[in-house]
Amino acid sequence: MTIKRANAAATALLAVATGAGLAPSAGAEVFRPDVFELDNGLTVVVVTNRTAPVVSHMLWYKVGAADEEPGVSGIAHFLEHLMFRGTETVPDGEFSRIVQREGARSNAMTSWDYTAYFQNVASDRLGRMMELEADRMANLAITDEVVAPERNVILEERGQVVESRPSSRLNEQMYATLFQNHPYGIPIIGWRHEIEDLSINDARAFYDRWYAPNNAVLVLAGDIDVEAARPLVEETYGRIPARDVPERTRLEEPDSGAEFSVTLTSDQVQLPNWRRFYLAPTYTDDPNGHAYALQVLDELLGTGTTSRLYRSLVVEQEIAVAAGTSYRPAGVDQGPLVAYMTPRGDTGMAALEEAFEAEIERLLTEGLTEEEVATAKDRLTISSTFARDSLMAPVYAFGQALATGGTIDDVERWPSRIDAISADDVMAAAEAVFGANGRHVTGYLLPEDPDAAIRLDEPVDPDAVSPDMDTEIVQ
């Protein structure tokens, strides 16, 4: 899901998996949620916000594309599509029709680590959404008739969002290079030749294995409180029995001492682009405790027009029109911290890369000032105020945290944890990711005809090279 920071500051508000306990401890700083768990293991988070008479109702399953068996890539996403195609009591097409009729905005998304379904709806119609969502958690009944057209839809989707976009094709290959053994190297939507062979049995098996209340988190935000939510949840989701769900096991990456790069040349590319994926910790997979420090580093090194990279490469050296970093620390396993640049004028890739590396070298050898770090921390922590001015921010924050092994406290105490970071912490994190023992892959997006490139750039938009393609916009 590409969420721009401006629209959802809460993308930053995601969390580590070190806390204990479900309920927020004293000192909640951000959304002040109410949390409870049903007997069948479903976790429920409620955030009250009376701004408008609507509720966001979002169910997160702790399973995604990285939990697929080898050879059936895309099955998590395929199942997500099939979840709209009928249950024992709601015929194919009826789910969407009912949701439409209730005036809800409904969508679903698949990521490597989670699959989520949501409806934003007038608060007096919430009960119906819960009935439908709980029904398809337990009673999916897909038939052969719907499988072929839906598979074609997904092949069209792959054509539209990956194959038609050189930048997405490059990202896909960079993931496959950075992760040689871990399933993050396999695209969420799946490889085309494997999508073509996905069957109804594959989908049923995946559903039976993972879709259970004890493997899910329900987040409610908006015009609702915990007293009103509890009976609705008990009557719907509460009737579904818990089931044994397997442990999530992921293959480990081998050590690698090689330099990797991927080049994609296409006549669709009018504007070259340089990007690099560094393997970086996430909140949940952070053996040396660098994730929060990396968020501070991402802010001062590569976020916005006053960052080190933009100032040096764009304003002072005038060799790039865009330069920055993007880091999203929510994930079960380690993922990419992305650096990106777009050359300016006739600057070539080699010169650009050299200037970038010089900037990283300067960081590692000359260090940072406490003032730089303090400013970055202030900018980050103020984002929690803006996050409260949003219906969806808490839904994504809690959903992503809990679905990737984090806790409520990780979200609620995020500002304090950022605030506790020192310049030394940031330097240690920088050394771990950018230093000699780090691992990365470099990507070059090049036009077919380099002579055709006169002047080059792209507006500063981290999402332009955003590595994650985990959302499906079902319109």
Partner: protein, 454 residues
């Protein structure tokens, strides 16, 4: 004047003791200097959001100077008064003030989003940006290169190529058809004097519309409006826009090598102030505007699997109103999809809609309305649109009643008088199969070369 939000069941929010956080009413505030704004006040989160617009956007770009309005908007936050570019950006970032400008066809839009704590600094920076932008050489060249890059980048995007070609065919040489960023040639021709002339003519109080939401009262807002906008000149040049004649239906292929084709259709639409606008809105929702459940999605995606997405919608400006369809799909699916679209067009025109379809559509359109109003930014944006479209201060409260009043007869009448499968213009970017008959075939390369000045 109190405007309560209506929940779909009809209870007025804001009158319920338990929902005191909601934005309970819209009022009009006029400052000492005569700056007027719609305000929706709420102290739920200590933030303030301001949306504003100056009349006259891309349409005012002089021939040969296309891209002027857009370049201005990239430079307003790149230094003003005594504050140079990097310092200006640093102040915004350090105080977490979001200040954005964009050039629309008919107006320049701006947003200011800040914590209540830093509102005064934010207003001062905005006032400087609007009245004394510096246009220093370094940021001007940096942004010019940045826009040039965006133009280059666009030329690799078949969707953009399609929209360019389509607007040119629909709007001809009308200013509305101008490329918003300009061409490479016109962008390079822009000089600082052009930019200054633009703000002198356009950024005036008589051309200004303002909307505010969040943690600010009417008493506080008056002085705030003057702080931000009080130094602007009282009046400037009104934006003159020529009339437009709709073209004959066309069928065009833009040849483009890619894995999929992009399909665009259009016919005459309906203006925002037409008495049957709401009937047309409901009709389009059922036809193709409503995603899942709408006829186009059901037929083309769900039943046949020909596409991942298809939708229809209205394009409305002061001079041109269109009803459009967009989709992208495998090359071989273009003809069957077109047949289905024309068929649905004809069916809707001849047979109209059923009562239950209408009831469902109305329930959706009324029920989903509050989903557009869940944050201060949503609200200030809505309050701005209400003013630009002359909908009045009570629109939020009245809007669902306007939808509810639409009958089957209303929808069927507008479907019958508006829809015409024969009048649909078609443009395909890609490689449609042989049996697609086009009266014109051009190559994407032609469009790209022209934009890039090759």
């Amino acid at each position: 004047m109190t405007t309560a939000f209506l929940s779909p069941s009809g209870t007025a929010l804001g009158q319920d003791a338990d929902s005191g956080n909601g934005f309970s009413h819209v009022e009009t505030v006029v400052s000492d200097q005569g700056v007027q704004a719609y305000l929706a006040s709420s102290d739920f989160v200590p933030v303030v959001s301001i949306n504003f617009a100056f009349d006259g956007g891309i349409e005012t770009d002089p021939a040969g100077k296309e891209g002027r309005a857009n370049l201005v908007t990239t430079l307003l936050d790149e230094g003003a008064g005594d504050i140079r570019s990097q310092e200006f950006q640093r102040r915004l970032a350090d105080l977490s003030i979001s200040m954005r400008f964009s050039a629309g066809i008919e107006e320049i839009n701006g947003t200011l989003y800040t914590t209540k704590e830093h509102l005064d600094e934010a207003l001062d920076l905005l006032a400087l940006a609007l009245t004394e932008p510096r246009f220093d050489p370094e940021p001007v060249e940096r942004m010019r290169d940045s826009v040039a890059g965006a133009i280059r980048s666009n030329t690799g995007d078949p969707g953009w190529i399609g929209r360019r070609a389509f607007l040119e065919r629909v709007l001809g040489d009308h200013p509305f058809a101008r490329p918003s960023r300009g061409t490479m040639e016109s962008l390079m021709a822009l000089e600082v004097d052009d930019l200054r002339q633009f703000i002198e003519e356009r950024f005036t109080r008589d051309a200004l519309t303002v909307a505010v939401a969040g943690d600010i009262t009417a008493d506080e807002l008056g002085p705030a409006l003057d702080r931000a906008f009080g130094d602007l000149p009282a009046s400037g040049e009104p934006a003159e826009v020529p009339d437009w004649e709709p073209p004959e239906p066309f069928s065009t292929v833009v040849e483009w090598q890619g894995p999929q084709s992009i399909l665009m259709l259009a016919q005459a639409g309906i203006s925002r102030d037409h008495p049957d606008y709401y009937a047309a809105l409901v009709m389009n929702h059922i036809l193709g505007g409503g995603g899942f459940g709408s006829r186009l999605t059901e037929e083309v995606r769900e039943r046949r699997g020909l596409t991942y997405g298809i939708g229809s919608g209205f394009y409305n400006t002061d001079v041109a109103n269109l009803l459009m369809v967009n989709s992208s799909l495998a090359h071989g699916n273009v003809v069957p999809a077109l047949d289905l679209i024309r068929q649905e067009w004809a069916t809707m025109r001849e047979d109209g809609v059923t009562q239950s379809e209408l009831d469902d559509a109305k329930r959706y359109i009324t029920g989903s309305f509050p989903l557009q109003l869940t944050s201060t930014r949503d609200l200030s944006s809505m309050l701005l649109s209400m003013q630009l479209q002359n909908l009045g201060e009570d629109y939020i409260r009245e809007r669902n009643a306007l939808i509810q009043a639409v009958t089957v007869e209303d929808v069927n009448w507008i479907a019958n008088s508006l829809l015409d499968p024969e009048a649909l213009s078609v443009l395909v970017v890609g490689q449609p199969p042989e049996e697609f008959s086009a009266d014109e075939t051009i190559s994407a390369r032609e469009i790209v070369d022209r934009e890039l000045g090759r």
